[in-house]
């Protein structure tokens, strides 16, 4: 009994030594208000849905000025977002969302947090689903009427899904 008391004491002294313990507990509601990252399992995808049909309008209004009307880049434009399938092993690899990215969840995550570049975090979740669907449709990955939502987005098979290997040893 005494032994246990002593060892407990030692542990708590050590803990007190390495940390002033000032972290404030937060509840799951506060966590979900800032937790915007979405991994390939898509468990963190929000409610809502969209198709390429409505996504075309979002794209024309909020993306085309920088990424081009057809989303395939060009002079003075930001990254081309579609095209390039089958080019990765050639003398002229073209890396786009469609030809290169392994997961569609990344497209949703990145668009929602960072685009449009001049007004990030202003799209509604519906708009993010819709514009993601539009780009995947333009790239030939899904049909124009295919609805993207929390379930169907994570099921999208990207063309280059198996094109990567991790070189970090401890996966």
């Amino acid at each position: 009994m005494l032994m246990i008391a002593i060892s407990l004491y030692v542990t708590s002294v050590q803990a007190a030594e390495v940390s002033p313990g000032l972290g404030q507990s937060i509840d799951s509601e506060e966590v979900s208000s800032v937790d915007i990252s979405i991994d390939p399992r898509g468990e963190n995808l929000p409610a809502g849905s969209g198709t390429a049909v409505s996504g075309a309008t979002v794209y024309a209004d909020k993306c085309a000025a920088c990424h081009g009307t057809d989303a395939n880049g060009g002079d003075g434009l930001a990254d081309s977002l579609v095209g390039g399938i089958g080019t990765l092993a050639t003398e002229k690899p073209v890396k786009t969302v469609i030809s290169y990215w392994p997961y569609a969840t990344t497209l949703f995550d990145y668009t929602r947090r960072a685009m449009p570049l001049d007004a990030p975090m202003t799209l509604t979740d519906e708009e993010v689903y819709a514009v993601s669907a539009y780009l995947l449709f333009l790239g030939g990955v899904i049909e124009e009427t295919h609805e993207l939502n929390a379930q169907s987005l994570r099921e999208v098979q990207m063309p280059n899904r198996d094109g990567f290997q991790s070189v970090w040893p401890d996966m």
Partner: protein, 427 residues
């Protein structure tokens, strides 16, 4: 001894590379000559410079460089121009810096949508995910935590892009453009392991998602093993609060890892069991191979060195003695050896390394050289204590796809022409 004469000094390798103690021997001779000369010189008010005859400027709150050194500036690279002025980089002017540490105002910048102006009173760091209790910390809270200090480099994995597979011929650019998205500082901050322990990270946690509070919401996955080993939440850079462009009020520091993972303006850490596969670890900082597949999570920066003097944008000032000097570093450990060649790699001489030699921290290397005015090619090759050796550019290039630009740690060469012009050459 005649200036510029190397006759009596031992040669260490071909085309004029001298034994690294040559400078010391020579300077002793020179110093005693100066001392003898100065005892004979007369100093009067008439011959004194103006600044000795009027009182100098008084004190100031924050020191500034001499106006005569204003040419040492970061140069900006904005690949998207005015469409996205905050996406790009500015490079450390290595051609104007000596020693190892980068002054805070010249540390390279890399941002994807500008530098946020964060009020530390309104900034919080949240730790959540696979933890016993999600926590948030204010900036002032973190200032009360135990801290550690270490000197290390941060290098963007795009450093070296102007000699990468993105370009078809060597670009004639200052050494700062070629190697200057690498800078070094003494960083002070809170070990991340303390915060993860406090939140009660669960044992099967494997990765973290780190996220910045900038307009790009920069996010990267980081292995828990690194987080618990030597990762810090950096609050101070060379003793002062870190600069806005380096992540004020707080950033991650992962010694030896590629720059993009040192998430700036850090606001959130989510403990996970797998990587999140963010845009910047899939679309961008991944390495396309000739077979069309790509490497993910090539996190450690390779062993590398670069000669910063003589180097572009400068020219040789005539034949004679030069100190060939540069920086060598490795994300795998400590630099053990740097060799320098003045004859296109036919022969090599070991350079003197500046102490202290620390893991994941650059060393300054130096070797004396007598340039006889003939066309020459200078190269440096670094080794680290994990057995890595810097490889020739051609070998590096063949490993990756056309257009690939990340992790170019290959040997770089400076051609010296008879007229003293310096050029970046592929040998």
């Amino acid at each position: 001894m005649e200036p510029g004469s190397a006759n009596r000094i031992e040669h260490a390798a071909g085309n004029g590379l001298l034994n690294r103690r040559a400078f010391v021997q020579k300077s002793i001779v020179w110093l005693s000559a100066t001392a003898a000369g100065s005892s004979m010189a007369a100093t009067t008010g008439d011959s004194a410079p103006d600044w000795m005859k009027t009182p100098g400027a008084p004190f100031r709150g924050y020191g500034q460089p001499s106006p005569y050194t204003e040419s040492a500036q970061r140069k900006h690279l904005q690949p998207y121009g005015e469409m996205a002025p905050g996406s790009g980089a500015s490079v450390t002017p290595l051609q104007d810096l000596h020693g190892v540490i980068t002054p805070n105002g010249l540390h390279f910048e890399r941002s994807h949508n500008g530098v946020p102006a964060i009020d530390p009173e309104e900034h919080e760091l949240i730790v959540h995910g696979m933890v016993g209790q999600a926590l948030k910390f204010s900036y002032n809270d973190l200032l009360r935590y135990p801290t550690v200090t270490r000197t290390c480099f941060i290098e963007c994995s795009g450093n070296g892009l102007f000699n990468s597979n993105l370009v078809s011929q060597p670009m004639q650019l200052p050494v700062g453009h070629l190697h200057g998205v690498m800078s070094t500082a003494e960083w002070t901050g809170v070990p991340l392991s303390i915060l993860l322990d406090e939140a009660g990270m669960v044992t099967n946690a494997k990765w973290l998602l780190a996220e910045g509070a900038d307009a790009a919401g920069m996010s990267r996955s980081i292995p828990v093993s690194k987080a618990m080993d030597d990762t810090m939440i950096a609050l101070f850079q060379n003793g002062e609060p870190i600069r806005p462009e380096q992540g004020y009020p707080m950033r991650l520091l992962l010694p030896g890892f590629e720059g993009n993972t040192h998430v700036k303006w850090l606001r959130r850490i989510k403990v996970t069991d797998a990587p999140t596969y963010t845009k910047d670890e899939t679309s961008k900082y991944s390495d396309l191979l000739p077979d069309g597949t790509a490497n993910l999570f090539s996190l450690k920066m390779g062993v590398k060195s670069a000669i910063t003097r003589p180097a572009l944008p400068y020219k040789m000032a005539g034949k004679g003695f030069y100190e060939v000097s540069g920086l060598a570093w490795s994300g795998h450990g400590s630099v053990t050896r740097v060799e320098v060649s003045a004859d296109t790699g036919r022969s090599w001489s070991d350079a003197e390394l500046s102490a202290p030699i620390l893991p994941m921290s650059p060393v300054r290397f130096r070797v004396p050289w007598h340039w006889d005015g003939s066309p020459s090619v200078l190269m440096s090759r670094a080794h680290d204590d994990q057995g890595n050796i810097q490889m020739p550019r051609s070998e590096w290039s063949a490993k990756y796809a056309v257009g690939h630009l990340y992790h170019n740690n290959s040997i770089q060469a400076w051609g010296i022409a008879t007229d003293g012009e310096i050029s970046n050459v592929w040998s």
